[in-house]
């Protein structure tokens, strides 16, 4: 235990060359990556949207497909940031020792962790924008308000990247991430209003859903897609920001302890 481990993050612009590095790697695999961003969410949206949507007249005052569209943007941005922070982040920290190489330069661990979060959020931004484009093409959203989905995708990305990095900091190996996906990510996908309104759940489960970050993301996304200003928007933004800041700090402390050997 060391007091230095608990120091507040010292941020600097030196994170940027690391972000540039990740971007350069991504550019080399851009085509399969964009396909990956699109395939899974679009298949979910179309499959469930047509299949289940034909049985349901409307949901939450809109067509089921439109209802699902807002949830899909949120969960696919959640997934992109999570996969990037967990699997790719772990590869860079542990397997490829990229972090070790970077830390031998005048760049600090705080910069490295910040760059991981910003890069994973960048992936969310790309994935959110890709899904949004499909939604427009399918005519599921007509409002310019839906452009606010782009900054929202970034915010969702920041929150889930920071949360995911806590797991990366604790992970002994890749297998460990299964816990996070089965115990955290999948429950959120099912409880936070992606496929049906949270109000359909029993009261106790609604309370649980109410503290989960994806619920707040979807509460912002669905009105925006329909062209309305989300009720209690500041509260939802505040919750997502709080998740980001607290998780960033916790993950940084854990990384400092892990890498101080």
């Amino acid at each position: 235990m060391n007091n230095r481990d608990f120091a507040l993050p010292k941020l600097s612009l030196r994170f940027f060359p690391i972000w540039q590095r990740h971007w350069l790697v991504w550019k080399k695999i851009a085509a399969p990556s964009i396909l990956g961003h699109l395939a899974d969410p679009v298949i979910y949206m179309l499959g469930l949207g047509y299949g289940l949507g034909s049985l349901l007249p409307t949901m939450g005052g809109m067509s089921y497909m439109a209802f699902l569209a807002a949830g899909t943007v949120c969960y696919s941005t959640m997934n992109s940031a999570s996969f990037e922070a967990l699997y790719s982040g772990f590869a860079r920290m542990h397997e490829q020792r990229t972090w070790e190489a970077i830390l031998n330069t005048p760049v600090s661990l705080d910069d490295v962790v910040l760059s991981e979060i910003l890069w994973a959020a960048t992936k969310s931004l790309m994935s959110g924008a890709a899904v949004l484009a499909v939604i427009w093409v399918l005519g599921l959203s007509h409002s310019l308000m839906s452009l606010w989905m782009i900054p929202l995708a970034l915010l969702i990305g920041l929150a889930f990247a920071s949360l995911g990095l806590i797991m990366t900091a604790l992970a002994p190996a890749y297998d460990f991430f299964m816990y996070y996906f089965t115990l955290v990510i999948t429950p959120m996908m099912l409880l936070c209003g992606v496929f049906f309104p949270v109000t359909q759940l029993p009261e106790s489960m609604q309370v649980v859903a109410g503290v989960l970050p994806l619920t707040h993301a979807i509460d912002l996304a669905r009105p925006l897609m329909g062209g309305a200003i989300p009720p209690q928007a500041l509260l939802h933004i505040g919750v997502l920001l709080a998740y980001t800041l607290v998780a960033f700090y916790v993950s940084l402390v854990l990384f400092r302890r892990r890498l101080s050997r």
Partner: protein, 304 residues
């Protein structure tokens, strides 16, 4: 002139075990200093403390007149590091690895691009400029790692086992390059398990064991101060029995290791004459070297 690297009473423990224990070290400009020691002696931990990557539990360290870890970031602007295990970017080409790494030092792209040709030439990788890292041989990867450590034109270079796992040709090329760097006035601090490497490259050696500095000096001084000048190695099935009966009479000191007996002597003549009469035994007479010193100082038992 102030030493380039200075450590006083450095101490570090992990889980109650002291890994570095009161280490004092001072390295002057242009010097090539070797840290020797068995596995777990504290070499890598020492390097990491001197680089300011980990904070010592006690003691102080100065790197290029800056206190570390407090001012490690400023100090590392003028430092290059060759790590023990390769951590090149596998997704990038040779040139991209250099470009991306230079950016971490805050260098402009144009500035790095201008340096790349001479770095590639130094590493004998000019024709591999656009090759991807996974296609390089072990020796090429090591040379690229060395070139990468020079991207910021550092004054001090830390090398953690720079030639481990390389074939003799690749090692000799690395040695030649490291000598060129010392001739340019760069300060080198390296760890190694290879005594021939230490003997050839280093002006000065520091032997670590159990986190303590147990001896230091030039390679020649270490040999002269610690060991008899001549060694006669005796082999054969009956060498153990022979050692029990005769070794003490003919040598100042001897050690039995399996079917070999190492006899350390000031004058080898009487022993060699005696061995010529022993038909069941073979022997090798040679001058004492650094490996003898190392084994004497740190013992023959295996370290895991």
């Amino acid at each position: 002139m102030n030493p380039v690297i200075r450590a006083k009473g450095l101490q570090k423990s992990y889980g109650g075990q002291r890994v570095v224990d009161g280490l004092d070290l001072s390295i002057g400009k242009g010097e090539c200093c070797g840290l020797l020691g068995p596995n777990g002696a504290g070499k890598t931990t020492t390097l990491r403390m001197l680089l300011g990557l980990i904070a010592p539990d006690a003691g102080t360290a100065m790197l290029l007149d800056l206190p570390v870890p407090q001012a490690a970031r400023e100090a590392r602007i003028r430092v290059g590091v060759v790590p023990q295990m390769d951590n090149l970017d596998p997704d990038f080409t040779v040139a991209e690895n250099l470009l991306v790494y230079g950016r971490y030092f805050g260098m402009r792209d144009s500035e790095i691009e201008a340096r790349i040709p001479s770095l590639l030439e130094f590493a004998s990788l000019t024709n591999k400029r656009d090759a991807k890292v996974p296609t390089l041989s072990g020796g090429m990867k090591r040379r690229l790692t060395l070139a990468r450590a020079l991207v910021n034109d550092p004054d001090v270079i830390f090398l953690d086992e720079p030639t481990t796992g390389l074939d003799p040709q690749a090692r000799h090329l690395i040695w030649q390059r490291l000598r060129e760097l010392t001739q340019q006035g760069k300060t080198l601090l390296l760890t190694t398990h290879f005594m021939d490497e230490a003997e050839r490259l280093c002006h000065r050696l520091a032997v670590l064991d159990n986190g303590k500095l147990i001896s230091q000096g030039t390679p020649r001084e270490l040999i002269e101060q610690n060991i008899e000048p001549q060694v006669v190695e005796v082999f054969g099935e009956t060498s153990g029995q022979w050692a029990g009966e005769h070794a003490a009479r003919y040598s100042q000191r001897f050690e039995v290791s399996g079917e070999s007996v190492f006899c350390y002597v000031k004058d080898a003549q009487p022993l060699v004459a005696h061995l010529q009469g022993q038909s069941a035994l073979r022997y090798l007479h040679r001058p004492a070297n650094l490996e003898d010193v190392f084994l004497k100082l740190t013992g023959r038992e295996m370290r895991e």
